[in-house]
């Protein structure tokens, strides 16, 4: 996840379009907030962490940033949903 954050920092620096920059910033925030989640250390979570790195590498190398950004956002949504599902139950 740290590598994914580094990748996103590089993309954010490179991108000039403000709207894309904002969306990248939001995705980065979610990844940063979730990077220490316990479920990312499980058998099913580890591939998700690797996939996070892969989608951020895709953005770094993408000629079509819109497509790669949508892929990143869809991936980030999955992270958000899994973390929400595992949030502490309190009555």
């Amino acid at each position: 996840m740290e590598k994914a954050l580094e990748n996103l920092d590089r993309v954010i620096e490179k991108v000039s379009d403000e709207a894309a920059k904002k969306r990248l910033g939001e995705a980065r925030k979610v990844i940063s907030q979730n990077r220490k989640k316990i479920w990312l250390r499980t058998k099913t979570g580890k591939p998700m962490a690797l996939e996070t790195q892969a989608v951020t590498e895709n953005i770094l190398e993408a000629s079509d940033i819109e497509y790669a950004l949508s892929e990143l956002e869809a991936h980030v949504d999955k992270i958000t949903e899994e973390s929400r599902r595992r949030s502490m139950v309190v009555t």
Partner: protein, 282 residues
């Protein structure tokens, strides 16, 4: 018997619905359309998607039911962002059900031990006669809901349930909602569901019960967190609340006749150890 379970698609609702189905009951689950229905629908229940704050929807859901288990509620932390919405869901929602059923239809209301307020200075264990002390939107709403049900006169069991514990990987929040040295007592989700199911049979008594895990679950906040995550095989760095909160040790003797305390904390640890291995955490 056809039993309506409001809030039946949640974790506790699923366990209640499963146990009722296993007991041969016909179960109608009422919950919001946008929640995850996939697990509970697999039980073969009647799915009724609606909003507890909508009288029409509730009236339709209550048609031809012989008893109601009322779990639907706005819980902390969401309950604390809007007093109005919390009262609407937790109190008016309860009134909507009572408006829709006959006066002899039994209703089990799930209330909360948080209605006792912050009891850190009291002598434990806290029993059902301890004065209720509202300290937030949620506890206020649950105290009001209890009164609404009692005043309606239906056969009822009111269950003040301790925080629920599950045999699953649960992420730590940024701040644990109790102090590290605070007395805490949780209850295993299936045991809470068991209490609800059995209490349906004794609604004629119109009693109020504390529902909590029992002696093996009585510990401090830090002991609970340490043992839970150690069993999963995970090292954690919890940050505890600096303030005492509304969790304590409870006197559950009155509810013992319901026979619901079936899972000791040690048994939960065993379940977590197995899960930790399956998940590759151990």
């Amino acid at each position: 018997m056809r039993i309506l379970v409001t809030g039946g698609a949640g974790r506790l609702g699923y366990s209640v619905s499963r146990q009722l189905v296993e007991n041969g009951q016909t179960v109608r689950v009422f919950d919001l359309p946008q929640v995850d229905w996939s697990h509970v629908e697999r039980l073969g229940v009647e799915a009724f998607k609606g909003d507890i704050t909508d009288q029409g929807s509730v009236t339709d859901a209550c048609k031809d039911v012989d008893a109601v288990v009322h779990l639907a509620a706005l819980l902390p932390p969401r309950s604390e962002s809007s007093r109005e919405l919390t009262m609407k869901v937790n109190v008016s929602g309860t009134e909507n059900i009572l408006n829709s059923i006959n006066s002899d239809t039994p209703i089990v209301l799930t209330s909360s031990i948080s209605t006792y307020g912050i009891t850190a200075n009291a002598k434990p264990p806290i029993n059902e006669t301890y004065p209720q002390t509202p300290h937030n939107n949620y506890s206020k709403s649950k105290i009001s809901a209890e009164k609404v049900v009692m005043d309606a006169g239906n056969p009822t069991s009111i269950l003040r349930i301790a925080p629920i514990s599950v045999a699953d990987l649960v992420e730590l929040p940024d701040s644990i909602p109790y102090r590290s040295d605070q007395r805490v007592e949780f209850i295993f989700v299936d045991d809470a569901a068991c209490a609800i199911v059995i209490s349906l049979k004794v609604c004629d008594d119109r009693e109020i019960y504390n529902i909590a895990g029992g002696k093996s679950w009585q510990m401090t906040g830090t002991e609970y967190i340490d043992r839970f995550y150690a069993a999963l095989g995970v090292e954690v760095e919890p940050v505890f609340s600096e303030e005492y909160t509304a969790v304590d040790w409870y006197d559950t003797e009155k509810g013992e006749r319901l026979g619901y305390q079936r899972t000791s904390f040690n048994q939960l640890e065993k379940k977590l150890e197995v899960l930790g291995m399956e998940m590759g955490l151990r």
